[in-house]
Point group: C2
Chain length 246, copies 2
């Protein structure tokens, strides 16, 4: 009974990986390990599904330490990752230090800097895939934000390939709801080793999250049908020509 | 000042017609005239934009009288339509009478029966376009309903052509918000001649309408960005192979 919730996550990650061919033989996968619950559960799951996937692949985690978050749980995170067969690297990036004079810190800047570091590291070390910990609720949220703010139907793809770039982006948690991740993290003792951003959530995203929750009535069935619609429109698998943006 | 609100509707209908080529030289357009505010305002607008469109086209309205609605305002509707240069025909259809034994009346059945009659009438009399009075809010509503109930991204197109069928469907009010139609109907004295369905609105649609209003905060800007997104994804102009469904 205890492991039931973790099993759900493992099954949904397996489903995403198998159906969308997220992992191929010999893949070298770089996990973007923020230290938060999502990416930690993702690392746990990508490790735990090895028997089901029946492919040889390498898992390495890159943590980016910023100049505004002295994450005290980093050594605990490293211990867990190594226990799961995932190597751990920590890189320090002066996120605030890189701000141009007069600019203030914001989510967009931070994620841009982190993404740049991830891509650079992956390219230099020969990783061919970057795994990001975005889940079903993140994808739906982005879909609604892009629709209402940008006037376009687009989402965060679960598989994103580039025609002329050797690194693909995968989101193995794309079929998993956030509450399923939290339940799994609790069950696996992951919440204890994870941290959250001291800046908190982008207020715009928080407002959208609330409005989506109201709209869907937080119904898992409704959210899955929205994801299904987004998927049927081809928005969860993309192939782009150019190299990744920030 | 008085005609300002009517002008907005006329401008948005002109924009839809011009940008999407809804009306072509020599078109014979059959207006689905339910007797409600939307289709009546549409008839008024399609007539009023003649000088801007600079094309020759015929406008005829078909009203379908059912066996459950004795619309007392029909003669007033006919008077207004004729005043606008739109011919009027009334056809009686036993919507309830056609129900199979044991079936109860519902919106889907009624609209199916009406649509069938419209298409039959258009084909028999050589009309090449059918104009339906759906507005921006209807389109967004259908988009959200299809997304959350069917799991697909689709909407009601503003222009729908068939490869092997001589009748196209147009929705000239597609860029107009419902509240703009109401304001125009008030200004033009149309509300007095329009009626509403005695069965009232489908409860599912009413619930969705409420949730969408909460989600968009009834912001015209947000609703227009959603429409823009739906349009950019190609969902407002369609060409289908098969003949129209019910």
């Amino acid at each position: 009974m205890r492991a039931a919730r973790s099993n759900i996550v493992r099954k949904l990650v397996t489903k995403a990986v198998m159906e969308r061919n997220l992992i191929e033989e010999g893949d070298r996968i770089l996990i973007a390990a923020s230290g938060g619950k999502d990416s930690t559960v993702m690392a746990w799951a990508l490790s735990g599904i090895r028997p089901a996937i029946k492919k040889t692949y390498e898992l390495a985690a890159l943590h980016i330490s910023s100049d505004f978050c002295a994450c005290c749980k980093k050594s605990a995170l490293e211990r867990r990752l190594i226990e799961w067969g995932v190597s751990f690297t920590d890189v320090s990036v002066p996120i605030i230090g890189r701000l141009k004079p007069g600019r203030t810190m914001n989510c967009y800047w931070c994620s841009t800097q982190r993404r740049t570091e991830l891509l650079k590291y992956a390219l230099e070390r020969g990783f061919n895939k970057i795994a990001l910990g975005h889940h079903l609720d993140d994808i739906i949220e982005t879909f609604f934000m892009n629709m209402t703010a940008k006037g376009e139907l687009s989402a965060m793809p679960i598989l994103l390939k580039y025609q002329k770039y050797p690194v693909s982006i995968i989101r193995p948690l794309g079929l998993v709801e956030e509450q399923q991740i939290i339940a799994c993290a609790e069950e696996e003792g992951i919440l204890k080793t994870s941290c959250t951003c001291p800046f908190g959530m982008n207020s715009n995203r928080r407002a959208v999250r609330k409005r989506i929750a109201d709209f869907t009535g937080n119904s898992a069935a409704v959210k899955r049908r929205i994801l299904q619609a987004v998927d049927a429109a081809g928005l969860l698998t993309e192939e782009r020509a150019a190299r990744p943006g920030p």
